[in-house]
């Protein structure tokens, strides 16, 4: 039987094995390990069986801590159990891991190793997480490639059963977990042969059972704990041998040989680099290149890191090694050495002191590749070069410019060690255009050929809309082991014309390479549209240059923005990596495979795109001379602050890798409001204002997720000097006859989502298709609007104390201090954030749970929270996913305490600062905007006085005087946080009675990690981990909070009633206790046209699915019913709301009967819940808790 080869990514390769050798998987999504959990869930849902013929059960938990606990319990009850996680998720598992290891319980945790959140967070890969788990007692086995991940997953499982020591098996997050490569699959028989069923039986026998009861996990005292702890040692001593035996057994079965340490290089190597994970492959390839040039260098890859087998390590080292560099992909601040470095030094020193080693080689250590920082052959060579120096640097870094501690090694950025036998292709795509999917497909087509090998790696932008993707594809006739980005490409494709003005794509092109550009300009016109640097590189590198208007082809065929099929066909035609007819057949075959079951129409359209592609492809006759005078436009204006120019702007320009260490803040503190410099220009069509039709209602600006719509009312005199074409209309403001009104659209920041147009109520009386805002092409108005925006910004903001912030109309004039975030086009969460920033932004402090809202506001360099002209704005921080409520409560405690300190000090200092001022500050009412304005001026006066006093107490009061202005504390997160991982903390914080405002942006799924079910996911909707539809109704978090009696609770939906949303937010903020607001947030994961998101919100409310209500405890004090049901009784059946969303609708396709049953149940659940609300709303006010409060009266 020939072995089956296939293209897959690291996560799939690992999960494939893990699924087959386990019975229970307890999971929780976290990047980059989520796909492993999702795959096992999919397979379980499809009834795929493990090697014993049973379908494993996959249980989503509320958190990684919960998953670990569940794994622990399952293991103690005899099932073969696993989990998948990364980063902070692994940190949450640590307490249980000590227990699981201490109890000698066989299990494998599969980790896609990832950076840890410190001063800043990152989803990308390094070894900080697994290194933090190295004390748990888990063995640690690390893979360097997709194939190794696949094979070692099995070795780990076989070994853990034998050794009883639990294993961490890891691949490098993203670099390996998300790399596509060709692997040879282990057959079911091979997997079966590796697992010893006797050992499985022993595991079951050790499980807890009332049939032969034991007690495990007892509590011990100083007399016995120590001995117990030492009792495990023999098991650890045996583990390395066991792993090697299993590796050898695997080699016999499949021919792939592994050892605990792998040495590559000559026996007489003098310089050796020790490395773990995918970096080892880079070092190995570079060393081979150096060896061919006569250098005596070798590579030692650590596969089994814990338990560390000292003897085998020593044996693997070439005898004459003179110097060793140990590379750690981690950071342990303050440690003498990074962990692997320390281990190597320790082992060598021990060997030397015990006489087994004659001479101590020089050992240096260094860090590389944190957060998936690319680790290239140039960097690996720099390490070997360093080892050759008489005094090599110790504690070095490679890959960054460290101008603070000078740790950095210089390296050759242009070093290319790859031969001509590998075709290297780079594709620059726009998020939504299907480029990545097409490239995965191309890699599969080429990799699936018997003699073909392929590798695909994909870089993503962190923006959720309009971001760029870069696909790195290699093709060849031999296995491809090159876990680093392509910097030397034979083929470069740009799938979005606008990138020529933004990204330096051709710096990676090799001389003579092919450049394919998706261009609205034809072969005769395109040259003059290119900026100078692009022209120069085309000429200097003698590139072959092709254009195609793929967007036009796709549009004509009904494919919308999906240019992938067209460009994929062109790639195969130009790159000549396989016979063209065969390639076209393969593309059409995959189209058939992907779409035949879903839609024949799509199959036809894509096939037509394949057929139409080559006719539209043209070679450009490249002139001998460059002619353009246009350079790339600057990313940020020269007027921007220095930090924005030197750091923010450089990151935006894609040159973040080159920014030296000293330019960064030491503690992760960054300026707010940097999104305004981005000007991403991602929309083709933007809203255009018609002042004649506009009724100034504010309905457009309130729903705009990106704060692109700004309104100002001002005196007509201010229009003097306005740019020609600046739009305004008479403002209907009583008492100001000359007032003008302008609605300004920041079209360069607009995503073109269309929510505003859909929400505009002002139709033309003569043409219902025309409203006061209409979508129109951006390019023709761009220059004019830039001038308009520049003038608009000179107009004064309306003073906050003059605004009526109780109406949608009034609030549009309040400056949003949240703008231009990276959220999805049409995002349902962002409008709420903008609204709270308009209401409370200048005195607002936010605790933000990890999730979409944390990512799209706080992904460096684009920070969406902003400050006003006075420098006041939103102060924001993200602690973790699970602790956000507690984090926010911490804010409150600190602020309350410091306010108290300030009040005490001021009372003492009243005679010195003036009793009148002191009294005014201490007794100030702080409810309205004018209250705040007055208090601020009093505090300013106080500070002036304090500055003159020079006493210790005055100085102390100065440090806390700002607390006299009442601060608005907002605890913000999604339903994944509030309903699941953070629920315990949220519940606790609500129960403290402190004045915090909790805003839950409820999308009913884990949006950020790709739509996994949460406890907010509704009955009948499908989501990841609930693919067949959720079978129970969502948790009623509102009722749970209402049960406390003293929590202000509101359920809002801006699209159903924006005035109600506004009212609830203001009431919540004013309420001097805990407030909880559940905000319906439509989401891309619902499967709707986002343009219609607000209408869908209205349907959610109209159906009674999302009734609007407020529970205001202050009402009860007044003898009234605190529960107000603010929306009408259900007016449409649930179906009319739900079946407009793919998450519900998709089940009617796969399981029509089940879908119908779930819809009925969902309607019944809705009816029941609505009855409860109606009962509440119609109760007498005296029938509400808490009455204990009255007992003192």
């Amino acid at each position: 039987m020939t072995a089956q080869t296939t293209m897959m990514d690291g996560n799939t390769a690992v999960a494939h094995v893990a699924y087959r050798v386990n019975e229970v998987c307890a999971i929780f999504p976290i990047t980059p390990s989520s796909p492993m959990a999702e795959l096992t869930d999919d397979w379980s849902a499809q009834g795929i069986k493990n090697i014993w013929g049973i379908v494993p059960v996959v249980q989503e938990m509320q958190a990684e801590g919960g998953a670990a606990g569940c794994v622990h319990g399952s293991l103690q009850s005899g099932a073969l159990t696993t989990t998948f996680t990364a980063s902070q998720g692994l940190m949450l598992m640590l307490p249980n891991m000590y227990k699981i290891a201490g109890e000698l319980t066989p299990t494998v945790f599969h980790i896609a190793a990832r950076a840890l959140a410190a001063a800043t967070s990152s989803i990308f890969g390094d070894h900080q997480d697994i290194m933090a788990a190295r004390g748990t007692g888990f063995a640690i086995l690390g893979a360097a490639s997709v194939q190794e991940g696949h094979d070692l997953a099995l070795v780990a499982q076989a070994a853990t059963l034998e050794a009883r020591v639990p294993f961490i098996h890891f691949t490098d997050g993203f670099r390996t977990s998300h790399e596509y490569n060709k692997i040879t699959l282990l057959s079911e028989d091979q997997i079966r042969a590796m697992i010893d069923n006797d050992r499985v039986a022993e595991h079951r026998q050790r499980a807890l059972s009332p049939e032969h009861p034991v007690i495990r996990g007892t509590w011990q005292n100083p007399d016995t704990y120590f001995q117990s702890r030492e009792r495990v040692n023999p098991y650890y001593a045996k583990t390395p041998d066991i792993v090697q035996v299993k590796m050898d057994q695997l080699a016999e079965l499949c021919g792939r040989k592994y050892s605990l340490f792998r040495y590559d290089g000559p026996n007489d190597a003098e310089r050796v680099v020790v490395c773990m994970g995918s970096g080892a492959a880079v070092v190995r390839k570079t060393a081979a290149w150096l060896q061919r040039r006569g250098e005596k260098v070798g590579t030692l890859q650590v596969l089994l890191y814990r338990p560390f087998d000292r003897e085998r390590f020593l044996k693997m080292l070439p005898p004459g090694v003179k110097s060793i560099a140990v590379l750690d992909r981690t950071k342990e601040p303050g440690a003498a050495f990074e962990p692997l470095h320390a281990d190597v030094i320790g082992v060598l020193a021990d060997a030397l002191s015990s006489g087994r080693l004659e001479r101590m080689p020089r050992v240096i250590g260094g860090r590389y590749g944190l957060s998936s920082k690319d680790f290239s052959p140039g960097m690996a060579k720099a390490v070997f070069d360093e080892l050759a120096k008489p005094s090599p640097k110790n504690g070095f870094t490679v890959g960054i410019i460290d101008d603070v501690m000078q740790t950095g090694l210089d390296y050759d950025r242009t070093l290319d060690i790859e031969g001509d036998d590998v075709v290297r292709a780079l594709f620059f795509g726009l998020g939504a255009d299907g480029t990545v999917g097409a490239n995965k497909n191309s890699a599969k087509i080429l990799g699936d050929r018997p003699d073909g090998y392929a590798q695909g790696y994909f870089e993503y932008d962190s923006h959720k809309s309009g971001g760029a993707t870069i696909s790195h594809l290699r093709f060849g006739k031999a296995p491809i082991e090159a876990p680093y980005l392509i910097r030397h490409a034979n083929f470069v494709a740009c799938h979005k014309f606008g990138f020529v003005n933004k990204l330096d794509m051709l710096s990676s092109a090799l001389p003579g390479a092919t450049f394919l550009l998706n261009s609205p300009y034809g072969p005769d016109d395109v040259w003059n549209q290119l900026p100078r640097p692009v022209q120069r590189q085309i000429v200097d590198k003698n590139l072959r240059f092709f254009v195609i208007d793929a967007s036009d082809v796709a549009l004509r065929l009904g494919l919308g923005p999906r240019v992938n099929t067209v460009l994929q066909t062109c790639f195969f035609h130009l790159a000549k990596v396989m016979p063209e007819t065969e390639a076209i057949d393969a593309i059409k075959h995959s189209i058939e495979k992907d779409y035949a079951k879903k839609s024949q129409a799509i199959v036809k359209m894509n096939n037509a795109a394949v057929d139409a592609a080559l006719a539209a492809l043209h070679e450009v006759k490249v002139p001998a001379q460059i002619s353009s005078t246009r350079d790339l436009p600057p990313i940020v204006p020269a007027s921007a602050p220095a930090f924005v120019r030197n750091v923010t702007g450089e990151i935006m320009a894609g040159r973040g890798d080159d920014i030296p260490v000293s330019h960064f803040p030491a503690d992760g503190t960054f300026p707010v409001g940097t999104t305004r410099y981005e000007k991403r220009n991602i929309a083709v069509e933007v809203p255009i204002w018609d002042p004649d039709l506009c009724i100034h209602c504010g309905q457009c600006s309130i729903v705009c997720p990106h704060s692109v719509i700004r309104a100002k009312a001002y005196d007509a005199k201010a229009l003097e000097g306005a740019s020609a074409g600046f739009k305004s209309a008479p403002a209907n403001v009583r008492g100001y006859p000359d007032a003008r009104f302008t609605l300004q659209f920041y079209i360069e920041d607009c995503t073109g989502c269309g929510l505003c147009v859909e929400n505009c109520p002002a139709h033309s009386p003569t043409d219902s298709n025309t409203r006061a805002i209409n979508m129109g092409e951006k390019l023709p108005i761009l220059e004019q609007e830039r001038r308009n925006i520049a003038f608009f910004e000179t107009l004064p903001e309306v003073e906050r104390s003059r605004l009526n912030l109780g109406t949608v109309r009034g609030v549009q004039f309040a400056q949003p201090l949240f703008e231009f975030s990276g959220a999805c086009a049409g995002c349902g969460e962002a409008p709420y954030l903008k609204l709270v920033s308009q209401l409370f932004g200048d005195r607002m402090q936010v605790a933000n749970a990890t999730g979409c809202s944390a990512i799209f506001v706080g992904n460096t360099p684009a920070h969406a929270w902003a400050a006003d002209a006075n420098g006041r704005g939103v102060a924001w921080a993200n602690s973790l996913f699970e602790d956000n409520a507690e984090f926010g409560l911490g804010y409150r405690l600190a602020i309350d305490k410091q306010t108290e300190i300030a009040r005490d000090l001021l009372a003492k200092l009243a005679p010195s600062v003036g009793p009148h001022l002191a009294n005014a500050i201490l007794s100030a009412d702080q409810k309205t905007e004018s209250d705040f304005a007055h208090q601020r001026s009093r505090v300013a006066a106080l500070k002036d006085k304090l500055a003159q006093l020079q006493t210790d107490e005055a100085k102390r009061l100065l440090t806390v005087a700002d607390y006299f202005v009442r601060r608005s504390i907002w605890i913000i997160g999604g339903d994944g946080w509030a309903y699941d991982i953070g629920y315990g903390g949220l519940d606790h914080v609500l129960a403290q009675g402190r004045d915090v405002n909790v805003l839950v942006l409820d999308t009913e799924v884990y949006s950020n990690t790709g739509g996994q079910a949460s406890k907010a996911t509704p009955l009948g909707a499908s989501a990841k981990f609930a693919a067949a539809g959720k079978r129970i109704p969502r948790k009623d978090l509102a009722l749970q909070a209402i049960s406390y009696g003293y929590v202000y609770v509101a359920q809002i939906a801006m699209g159903a009633n924006s005035e109600h949303a506004l009212l609830a937010l203001r009431e919540a903020e004013a309420y001097p206790g805990p407030s909880l607001i559940l905000a319906y947030s439509h989401c891309i994961a619902h499967g709707i046209e986002m343009r219609l998101g607000m209408k869908q919100q209205a349907r959610a409310t109209a159906s009674g699915y999302w009734p609007l209500f407020r529970f205001d405890p202050t009402m009860r004090k007044a003898g009234l019913n605190p529960f107000r049901l603010d929306s009408t009784r259900p007016r449409i059946p649930l179906e009319d709301y739900a079946y407009r969303e793919i998450r519900y609708k998709t089940l009617t396709r796969s399981n029509p009967e089940g879908a119908a049953e779930m819809l009925k149940q969902a309607q019944a659940a809705l009816d029941e819940r609505y009855c409860v609300y109606e009962d509440l709303a119609s109760r007498d006010g005296s029938r509400f808790l808490p009455h204990w409060e009255d007992a003192t009266e």
């Binding site: 999805c824 790709g1010 739509g1011 499908s1022 209205a1098 793919i1142 609708k1145 796969s1150 399981n1151």
Partner: protein, 350 residues
Amino acid sequence: MDLRTRYLGLELKHPIVASASSLTRSLDDICRLADAGASAVVMASVFEEQVVAEELREAFLLEEGAETQGEASGYFPERPDDHRGLLDAHLETLRLAAERAGVPIIASLNGASQQGWVAFARRLEQAGASAIELNVYRVPADPRETGESVEASYLEIVRAVKAQVHVPVAVKLAPYFSSPGNMALRLVEAGADGIVMFSRFYEPDIDLQSLTARSDLELSTASEARLPLTWVALLAGRLDAALAAGSGIESHEEVVKYLLVGADVVMTASSLLRHGPEHMGTLVRGLETWMTSRGFGSIGDLRGRLAVSRRHADPAAFMRAQYYEILSHCWAAPSSTAPALQARPDHRRL
């Protein structure tokens, strides 16, 4: 009492058939209708354009946001292998209905392209339809298009479908032809096994608030029975095909009238939508009671008694004479107090 009849070669236990409507879309509703006594069910129409548009929408929405950022390769679970397009879901319902309902299931098809008519018809046949009703809904919006070309397109559809499927094929016809009888005749010559009279065009209304065209469903009323009644009367016995009549069936009385003028079966949707599927039983019992009270022993005794072909040598002259009669004797002022129809709550507009 023998209520049996034949339609499109199918032996039916009585002549009242549930015609295509939203009530014949789900397996549940189809089974309810069959349980309530329908002798056959015409399943809700498959609209080719709708199928294509809906499948595209779903496929595109499912891919929205996929592969754009590192944390999520997509936002929906991997679709299981049994995930199907809209048409497949319809076919699955048809298959199950054919298996479980216990009465013949006639599929209804509303194509948009020649290719679509044929391809969809074949798949309906494969899924187990007892017969196929071609619901040709074609508005010649281009004034340059001639009646001849419209007619030719009808005939072409019938020929193409008949060449590819083996189950009987009926054509649901609109009344708007210069010579509906001739059209019916030519359709039968082209291969149609039955003619259904008539399909109702849902002409849009105008919304004066938004100044847009508004399409909403108006259920048919008893007065609309007149037109099909006339044409069934004129054509019964003169076509080599089965005749089905619909529109305006409120009670057994209209059923009896259609049978009297020669219909093989009577089809109703509006009354079922208005009164629920159980109304089917009421109609059947009403027919039976009426026949008993008038001494009819079988449908055969009743059918076609008032068909023009059986009573008048010159049907055209008869029609003119009737027209004259109506104009001279029956012209009356419309009642100003005509009772408004009880409309169902309109859930579709927000």
